[in-house]
Amino acid sequence: MKQRAKVLVLTGYGLNCDIETAHACEQAGARADRVHINDVISGAANLSDYQMIVFIGGFSWGDDHGAGVIQAVRMKKHAGDRIATFVEDGNLVLGICNGFQTIVNMGLLPGFDNDYQTRATALTYNDCGNFRDDWVHLAIDSESPCVFTRGMTHVELPIRHGEGKLVAAEETLSRLKQNRQVVCRYASSDGSAANGRFPENPNGSMDDIAGICDPTGRIFGLMPHPEAYNHPTNHPDWSRRKEDLPPAAGLQIFKNAVDYMSR
């Protein structure tokens, strides 16, 4: 019998979406361990036991000096080499919200030309000037190499952040687009581009970008929370359409990851 894919869900230092992220992985058919950042650093947890790392949502180190900044510094300094090897070995990395902010600051994204060190994109303060919790429509580029969104064209997910505005130099943006690394964009309910319009684009993100991947499609970061749509009743409209309740679409991202790991 084939072994279940194993996922390492990072915890500690103010991260807070560990239980639901692990739950979503399990729902998708993986085995998930919640592992403290310090157990990764000390080596108590061995990355080679896993096929995917999830950098999860939360407020690591209180997000006091830019969201995900200190977590990135710490991971890069103490486990950077092992994470690089993990990526080289063909494994998956998913960064959600604070995790997205972290892997961007580590330089795992955008990962142009096999460079997984350089910070070329940033996630900064929402234009609205505040933390915001709302559901958004995402239009997914089905041509993207991203393995997490295969077969998906559209999904609704919650966002919950104060620093989700993606910023990059013009040149970086055009490379991202050219490589089809822009995986998902904030959109209107009919799937058309949000074009920066609030609240469809909740943070003023350049080009409505909500999530990007590396050129291999194995590293994916996004601001919305797929793990928070793990049950049909998570959707804000569920009580309005009880007769034909759609399945929890956030899980599809984890199922795609599991499919890829079990390939």
Binding site: G12, Y13, G14, L15, N16, C17, I19, E20, T21, H23, A24, H36, N38, D39, G57, G58, F59, W61, G62, D63, D64, H65, G66, V69, I70, V73, R74, N105, R119, T121, A122, T124, Y125, N126, D127, C128, G129, F131, R132, D133, D134, P158, R160, V167, A168, A169, G204, H225, E227, A228, N230, H231, P232, T233, N234, P236, S239, R240, K242, L245
Partner: protein, 998 residues
């Protein structure tokens, strides 16, 4: 040499933080600002080499994509520059995480006294502002002098090399810790000491304290321990334990209640025992889901066979009134420690808020410390950061505006947790301490924080004395501790756990040592934020984010290893004993040696005179008011009233979905913009069961009678819970009383007796209804001094007292979350039913308030007669017969019908003549009476018969239909059209007042 690093966003990027300042300056002070750019400053008080400084700057604190930075002042143009930094000793959370990051990257450890201090510099461009304007923004928008210091520079004054200078707000006490002996030769001496030291000892407690320390037996024992007269540590211990905050002397008091109308007098010995404890214990016997009540930090009920839920509610009023952000964040983070310290520890799953403040746009003469608008902003942000950064959803809350809260605001914070029913095979709700176990303090360090609450005066501060009386909660430190303690719990390492809140170690150790029968605490082992604290200060400091844990000596190594893994500081500071003594030493110097049972005997009960005068004798009457003719405008104006209108901006800044179990969100409906009756969440992700939560605060009715205020508040909370699908047979309640001072004083509190009578009546009403509806009070708290003295126009001061206020929270278990119902109408053609009887009860209603009336016909709750209706509501949820259910609350049927239509973005056509009513009511009474016990339910036509069968014999009538056309169309009692209002107009009116706030 210290280094000052300045960091800012690149000029081409929008500075959202700066834009908020600009927006607020325009909205609050009508000030015309072109732009504001923010510069974040880190003042690193430690030597680093040039190479290290570069690493710190580039590798940690500067984002190459978005930011630029420099160790010199950044060259950003301004007309005015406002610098804001903390005062010494104020918790600087970003400063602490900066230390962590710098230590990690450089490998160097910050020595004691070395630190990082954060501050902010606002570069304001405006050619319209003068120095007074700049100062106004600095003081009334950007800083609060209790915790912060400011400097204002004009462009001309600015020194491009020096910038703001190097400001190091380091605490330097230069004081040798000293234990002081307190003389007790006469009552007068003790009274004097109490005044000097700000102990607030009760007059009647003084002889009891003296008698104890003068007892020959006690004296002999104390001599052996090296002590004679009481020490300041001991007196402080007694003072805090006897305080109303810790000991609830008011609720434990004896009330002599006289009804002036009937002339009858009766005595109530102990409100708590009479109206809360005994009814709840009786119900706990009856309701098998009640697991643990009335002794622990929070109440415990059964969620399922393997899990218990935990609930409690708190207020944090006085500190929030002084420093809104700091007070509120400390409040929410603090209440989260209660479930964490319940049983052997619970995981936090939810928080809620209730804010009562003065009118947001107050323009009158009184000068509160913080304008209500600013206070509300700060409170909202404090709870936002406290909840969001703790990773705990905040899916419910309410705001009440009333001039009575200008004297002191109310900040209610409620917390729910979940724990496994068994920990290591033993019942999770049970715990005790045993002799030989170690006393461990976990989490934050101890400073001069919160000593003697907020009485310290700000005038006496020097540059380096800590501003300790107002705190800033630290959710980051607490979240780490939360995760650590739950892991330790699951390994069976925790024998007892409780939080350090009011009274600090004095309270947490004093209470936990009662189980083992004694303790020996080594105060010198307590980790301090800075040196120089006296022993008594260490003992009673209320520094936040700390838990006290009892562990077995054999578990020490494992416990400490886990603590280290989670980067949490834990320290063994003593041992539990069975000596019968609270024994405290500091490097072998005796500090305290008193009997454990000292506090539980001999102290006299407080006594209150209560005098009730009924509304008629107080001169209240119904207004003489004819029916309006323009109902359309009236309805829109009602929707726009501050206590009715939309407050979406608050709910959206609170993470209400973290932990992945959101079922019913705070905002529902087609456009997700209308308030839900209650919140439902799935605390155990593998289960289809839900936890429902709601709360109500309707203080307005206290203007007529706090009895009915209480009854209506409980009724509203319960109906909110029922509306989404909560089970009437399983409701746990939490009472939070906030009352003005009830101690009569002919000059200072002339209506004290009346307010005392209101409290007695409120407690009676609560006991009555909770008894009839079988709601055990799982937890509760009281805050008894909601008064303030505000300066007026001519240097005079006015005492402003809050309305007698009760927040009542309810929770329960939902068997199948998929049966939950939301409030918005769902489909055209659905039938609209009104459940419950509308009576002529406009007293203290929103409608009367619109015209400045109070009236007398306050809504009444007929608890017993409501029961069949409430059970029938359960039945229709269970049988899936209701498309929508919504309670009728403040504002009455008109307002709530409108909300159902706005939520569904559909129309409703309603015939007022068919609404169940007591007698013949006028149209305005039918639309705006706030009678209790009512719902609006919509039902699909095919379910009509099944639905009506359930309500046979109950006040229920089909009074209208849901329409495709988005119009609220109401016909009058005489069947003529009364009004026809587009739903879009109702939505616009409802959202307009606070619509542009984000």
């Amino acid at each position: 040499m210290p280094h000052r690093l300045e960091i800012a966003l690149k000029p081409e990027l929008l500075d959202a933080e700066g834009r908020q300042v600009k927006k607020k300056a325009a909205a609050y002070f009508n000030m015309d600002i072109t732009s504001v750019r923010c510069v974040h400053i880190l003042t690193i008080d430690k030597d680093f080499s040039a190479a290290q400084c570069r690493v710190i700057k580039d590798d940690i604190f500067t984002n190459p994509v978005t930011q630029f930075s420099s160790y010199g002042p950044l060259d950003i143009d301004f007309d005015w520059c406002v610098w804001v930094g903390y005062r010494p000793g104020v918790k600087d959370n970003p400063g602490e995480t900066a230390v962590e990051a710098i230590e990690d990257v450089t490998g160097e450890t910050f020595a004691s006294g070395e630190s990082v201090y954060t501050s902010l510099r606002y570069c304001i461009s405006s050619d319209k502002m003068n120095i007074d304007d700049a100062r106004l923004i600095a003081e009334e928008l950007l800083s609060n002098d209790i915790i912060q210091q400011v400097r204002v520079f004009s462009a001309a004054q600015w020194n491009r090399q020096e910038g703001v200078g190097i400001v190091i707000p380091k605490v330097m006490l230069d004081h040798v810790p000293t234990v002081t002996t307190i003389p007790i030769d006469t009552d007068e001496t003790v009274r004097k000491v109490s005044d000097e030291r700000n102990l607030a000892l009760n007059e009647n407690d003084i002889p009891v304290i003296r008698a104890y320390f003068n007892d020959p037996g006690v004296k002999t024992e104390r001599e052996k321990a090296g002590l004679s007269d009481p020490t300041d540590v001991e007196i402080e211990y007694i003072s805090q334990a006897r305080s109303d905050h810790c000991n609830h002397n008011t609720f434990q008091g004896r009330f002599v209640y006289r009804d002036r109308t009937t002339g009858q007098t009766e005595e109530i010995d102990n409100l708590f025992k009479t109206y809360i404890q005994s009814p709840t214990l009786a119900l706990a016997e009856k309701k098998d889901w009640v697991v643990s009540v009335l002794w622990d930090n929070a109440g415990v009920g059964r969620f399922d066979a393997d899990h218990y839920y935990v609930i409690t509610g708190e207020t944090h009023n006085s500190p929030s009134n002084m420093e809104a952000y700091g007070g509120a964040i400390t409040g929410i983070v603090g209440v989260y420690r209660d479930p964490l310290g319940t049983g052997k520890g619970s995981k936090l799953v939810m928080g809620s808020y209730g804010y009562c403040v003065g009118e947001r746009n107050y323009t009158g003469e009184l000068k509160p410390r913080l304008h209500p608008r600013r206070l509300l902003d700060g409170v909202i942000e404090g709870v936002r950061d406290g909840g969001n950064k703790s990773g705990i959803p905040t899916p419910f809350g309410q705001v009440i505006f009333h001039p009575g809260y200008m004297g002191k605001c109310l900040v209610f914070v409620t917390a729910l947790g979940i724990m496994p029913s068994l920990v290591n095979g033993a019942p999770a709700e049970q715990k005790t301490t045993s002799p030989g176990e170690l006393i461990v303090m976990c989490g934050g360090r101890v400073g001069k924080d919160g000593i003697h609450g907020v009485t310290a005066s700000s005038e006496s501060f020097s540059e380096n004395t800590p501003a300790g009386h107002v705190q800033i909660g630290d959710p980051y430190t607490q979240k780490k501790m939360h995760d650590f303690l739950l892991e330790a719990r699951d390994e069976g390492l925790i024998q007892y756990i409780t939080d350090n809140g009011g009274g600090g170690l004095s309270s947490s150790i004093g209470e936990t040592a009662r189980f083992s029968g004694g303790c020996h605490v080594h105060l010198e082992k307590v980790p301090l934020k800075y040196e120089g604290l006296d022993q008594w200060e260490i003992w009673v400091s209320e520094s936040q984010e700390r838990m006290t844990v009892a562990i077995r000596p054999d578990d020490e190594q494992r416990f400490m290893a886990l603590s280290e893994k989670h980067a949490v500081e834990s320290t063994v500071i003593g041992t539990y004993t069975d000596s019968g003594k609270l024994h405290i030493t500091y490097n072998d110097t005796p500090c305290a040696y008193v009997n454990m049972d000292l506090l539980t005997r001999g102290f006299p009960q407080w006594v209150f005179e209560a005098e009730w005068i009924d509304p008629e004798d107080r001169g209240l009457y119904e207004p003489v008011l004819s029916e309006p003719s323009d109902y359309a405008t009236l309805l829109c104006d009602m929707m726009a009233r501050p206590n009715i209108c939309a407050k979406e901006w608050i709910a959206r800044q609170y993470d209400h979905e973290v932990q992945g179990g959101s079922v019913i969100k705070p905002l529902v409906g087609k456009y997700r913009d209308v308030n839900s009756d209650a919140a439902v969440l799935r605390p155990v992700l593998t289960s289809e069961k839900g936890l429902v939560f709601s709360q109500a605060v309707i203080p307005f009715y206290s203007a007529i009678d706090a009895w009915h205020m209480t009854a209506c508040t409980i009724d509203e909370a319960v109906r909110r819970l029922l509306a989404v699908g909560g089970n009437f047979e399983h409701i746990g309640g939490v009472d939070n009383f906030c009352w003005p001072n009830i101690q009569y004083d002919p000059a200072k509190n002339p209506d004290g007796k009346f307010k005392a009578a209101q409290l007695v009546r409120s407690c009676r009403a609560m006991a009555g209804i909770c008894g009839q509806w079988e709601i055990p009070l799982l937890s509760g708290k009281d805050s008894m001094y909601v008064d303030g003295h505000l300066p007026g126009a001519y240097g005079e001061h006015h005492k402003v007292s809050a309305l007698e206020t009760l927040q009542f929270s309810v929770t329960g278990v939902i068997e199948d979350i998929k049966k939950c119902v939301t409030m918005e109408v769902k489909r055209p053609g659905d039938l609209v039913y009104i459940l419950g009887e509308t009576r002529n009860e406009l007293g203290a209603s929103e409608y009367y308030e619109r015209f400045g009336y109070t009236g007398r016909n306050v809504p009444r709750v007929d608890a017993v007669s409501f029961i069949p209706l409430y059970k029938a509501v359960n039945q229709i949820v269970n049988d899936a017969l209701a498309a929508s259910i919504h309670g009728i609350y403040r504002g009455g049927l008109g307002v709530h019908l409108a909300l159902c239509a706005v939520g569904g973005d559909l129309g409703i056509s309603l015939d007022l003549s068919r609404v169940p009513a007591a007698g013949t009511l006028s149209n305005d009474a039918l639309l705006f009476s706030e009678s209790a016990g009512r719902f609006i339910v919509t039902v699909r036509p095919e379910n009509k018969d099944a639905f009506e069968a359930i309500f046979r014999g109950l006040p229920c009538a089909c009074a209208g239909t849901v329409t495709e056309e988005r119009i609220l169309d109401i016909s009058a009692i005489d069947k003529y059209p009364l009004c026809s209002v587009p739903v879009a107009d109702l939505r616009y009116a409802w959202k307009k007042p606070f619509g542009d706030l984000l």
